[in-house]
């Protein structure tokens, strides 16, 4: 009997977090796979039912510590939709800036973890080095490096600090220089890297949509879907940007996913620069939300990993009646057996690294 199940996780270098990927191999070829999740389930949806609307932001921050702002922003947006209030314009621009900075930080964290997955520890340290720049910017903006608690229902916590624009420009300039010279060389232009990523973990467009894969992973299949443009929220409608879609052949493999995310780094930098230019220099950044609310609201945003959806129901109390979190990784995880089947055992890391798993948001 040459087939056996290999446990990859929960204590495994490949799993960036606590989850288990059971892989059935025949020799080195993967026959079947079975993800087991739930190790990090903290009962978010239940806890949020007993906390007030505003106080839940601190919880949603911790859904995924790698991209806190995008998650708490999605929650705030859903609650605002439910309450029927709207953020002032400057607040919306600040949110856009913070979201994109967080997206860059999150993607850099993904890049950092993708390196050692493929045996390239240098990539980890280089990417984390540049991530510091963006964490510093976020700290400057919100006061905390991680779990910022920055977006609030009705706006953002505080205005941008002085000189933020200049510092932002300087950091992005520095980052883009490193991006063009160092990251391209070590990742995209490396022959061995392409050998490891090209043609593995393929998925067709129909399968991808059917499995509910979203975000950069879907765009890597050649589908031009970016919620920032398809269903614009905040002021994304006024920004001129190009969603990163893989148009060449061989769509849907690890390399395409890598390129889409990798190019998003640069695109997000451009969005931040544009937003800094276009935003009004002064104005209110927050409105006071009502304490109690009734109704339902949903918001879907383009998280750094895909489509984040919050569905909030209020019953007239000062706390939500029901909150539903749609995590993109949770849906992608359902598709991983399809991605993995037929590949080699060594490709597990190449595939699962490229779909960017964040266990916190997956297990809720």
């Amino acid at each position: 009997m040459p087939e056996f199940w290999i446990n990859m996780g929960p204590q495994h270098p490949m799993t960036h977090g606590l989850w288990n990927m059971k892989v059935k191999v025949d020799g080195e070829t993967i026959v079947d796979a079975k993800p087991e999740i739930g190790y990090l389930h903290r009962g978010y949806e239940k806890i949020m039912e007993v906390r007030e609307f505003q106080k839940n932001v601190v919880l949603t921050d911790r859904l995924c510590y790698v991209s806190s702002i995008t998650w708490s922003h999605a929650y705030c947006l859903a609650v605002e939709k439910m309450m029927g209030i709207e953020t002032p314009e400057r607040g919306q621009w600040i949110r856009v800036i913070s979201l994109e900075l967080q997206r860059i930080a999150s993607h850099l964290m993904w890049l950092a973890s993708y390196g050692p997955d493929l045996g390239l520890l240098t990539g980890l340290l280089w990417a984390l080095r540049e991530r510091e720049l963006f964490l510093d910017l976020i700290q400057l903006m919100s006061g905390a490096r991680m779990n910022q608690n920055f977006p609030r229902v009705g706006g953002v916590r505080n205005d941008l600090p002085e000189n933020f624009e200049a510092m932002c420009r300087r950091s992005i300039e520095h980052f883009l220089e490193k991006y063009e010279n160092e990251y391209q060389a070590i990742f995209q232009e490396s022959k061995v890297f392409r050998m490891r990523t090209e043609g593995v973990g393929k998925i067709t467009v129909e399968e991808a949509i059917n499995w509910g894969i979203t975000g950069p992973n879907l765009r890597a299949c050649g589908v031009d879907v970016d919620l920032r443009r398809l269903d614009p929220y905040e002021t994304y409608g006024e920004i001129d940007f190009e969603p990163q879609v893989w148009h060449d052949g061989g769509a849907g493999d690890s390399y395409a996913r890598f390129v889409c995310r990798f190019n998003e780094l640069r695109e997000s930098c451009q969005i931040v620069l544009q937003a800094l230019k276009k935003m009004p220099k002064t104005g209110p950044y927050r409105v006071k939300p009502p304490r109690r609310a009734e109704g339902e609201g949903y918001a879907k945003t383009e998280d750094s990993r895909g489509e984040a959806l919050f569905y909030v129901i209020g019953d007239g109390d000062d706390r939500p009646y029901r909150v539903k979190i749609r995590s993109p990784v949770f849906c992608t995880m359902a598709a991983t057996p399809t991605l993995l089947r037929g590949n080699k055992l060594a490709d597990v890391v190449s595939i699962l690294g490229s779909v960017d798993v964040c266990v916190g948001e997956m297990d809720k």
């Binding site: 270098p13 045996g119 390239l120 490396s190 490709d347 890391v349």
Partner: protein
């Protein structure tokens, strides 16, 4: 063209041994007054057999210590420091100067302001204190034997690897073949280790290691065969001697050393180097212990000093492989400077052959380190593809080229 610091290791040690044994003999003879049978022991110690045996033991111990204590620690330090700098960080920092007993450093624990040479020693001390865990389902005897097999077979490569024209243990006619044989013993140990631990990661890692090391030892041997067409010998000292002259091309003497890499052996050099990178299990060919998917590959179940030995011997393999490459293709210990100072009447070379050899070994190792920390890992089927479909045809081509060159001139 330089002179060795140790012209004759055996001779040097023999003088030392003879002196020590003479002192011991005198003590024994002095004691032989009250206890007469001891005189026979003293006579026995004076025999040539005992002196030779003890001398060999000392020679072997000197070489083993030179390799495992001095070179192993240095190469580990070089690697860790080098890749740390590559990754924009300081790396290891605990050194002699950061220890707490210096007058300028009166803290309670080592500070982090040194160059980090002692970090490996600290790691070793830590590993010594770790518990050795043997899994319940493991094949205990095999599980314990395989690290010994791996470590000893790797160490055996240094029995015939000369560090200069005088600093060696044995001068064999088939020295190169012996080193390659010592290298190819390790897959057996790795396979045993992978199988005996009864763990899926070690099993896959061990089988990968066996498949990979077997595949890559063929091109290595074939490349050496291509070289033998030129050298006509497998004695490392002879091979280095052949390279210790300037190149003569069409009657003119060029200011380039006649290393085998500058010539028709270049293809063989490339094949041999790639095969050696695989033999020392480094990234991009470190698939047997691909830590991303196989935790630690075939070393997963080893703990404590057993892990330490198995882990540290990767660097010994790197040392041996670098030494082999530099002997075969890069002129071994032949150096450009010949300068001696005379202490009394004993000539002492300023830049001895050992210096040039160690320089080459470390330079090659640094190259391997930089290479392995700047590329990802190659997948196992791609590794085997490279081995079978690229390296073996190329090495056969190298043999053809070598034979052709010999026929033509």
């Amino acid at each position: 063209m330089s002179a060795p610091l140790v012209p004759d290791l055996f001779g040097l040690c023999k003088v030392l041994t003879a002196a020590i044994i003479w002192i011991v003999q005198q003590i024994i003879y002095a004691l032989a007054g009250p206890i007469p049978p001891l005189a026979g022991l003293g006579d026995f110690l004076g025999t040539d057999f005992v002196i030779t045996l003890v001398t060999w033991l000392i020679v072997v111990t000197v070489v083993v210590l030179w390799v495992t204590v001095i070179n192993l620690f240095t190469i580990m330090w070089v690697e860790r420091k080098l890749y740390s700098r590559l990754q924009d960080r300081y790396g290891i920092m605990i050194s002699v100067w950061s220890l707490p007993f210096w007058p300028f450093n009166r803290t309670r624990r080592p500070t982090h302001r040194g160059t980090g040479y002692l970090q490996n020693l600290a790691d070793g001390i830590k590993l010594i204190q770790k518990e050795n865990i043997t899994p319940r389902n493991a094949d205990s005897a095999m599980f314990h034997i395989s690290p010994v097999l791996i470590a000893s077979s790797t160490l055996m490569a240094f029995a015939v690897l000369p560090w200069s024209s005088g600093f060696y243990v044995a001068n064999l006619d088939l020295g190169i073949l012996f080193i390659l044989a010592a290298f190819s013993l390790a897959p057996l140990g790795i396979l045993i280790a992978g199988w005996s631990a009864n763990n899926k990661y070690t099993l896959v890692g061990g089988l990968r290691a066996a498949a990979m090391l077997l595949s890559y030892s063929i091109p290595a041997v074939l490349a050496v065969i291509a070289l033998v067409f030129f050298t006509g010998s497998l004695n490392p000292i002879v091979i280095v001697g052949q390279q210790d002259r300037p190149i003569v091309l069409a009657g003119t003497t060029l200011p380039i050393p006649a290393w085998y890499v500058f010539g028709p052996q270049f293809l063989g050099f490339l094949v041999f180097t790639v095969a050696m990178i695989a033999e020392m299990e480094r990234v991009p060919f470190d698939i047997p212990e691909a830590e991303a998917e196989l935790v630690e590959g075939w070393t997963t179940e080893y703990s404590g000093m057993r892990f330490g030995i198995v882990f540290a011997f990767k660097w010994l393999r790197m040392l041996a492989a670098s030494g082999l490459i530099s002997i075969l293709y890069l002129g071994g210990w032949s150096g450009p400077v010949f300068a001696t100072v005379f202490v009394g009447s004993i000539p002492i070379p300023i830049f001895p052959e050992e210096f040039w050899f160690v320089l080459r070994v470390y330079g090659l190792s640094a190259f391997f380190v930089v290479l392995s920390w700047s590329v990802p890992r190659v997948r196992i089927d791609q590794i085997l593809n490279i081995g079978w479909k690229r390296l073996i045809p190329y090495s056969l081509l190298a043999i053809l080229i070598a034979a052709g060159f010999r026929v033509l001139g």
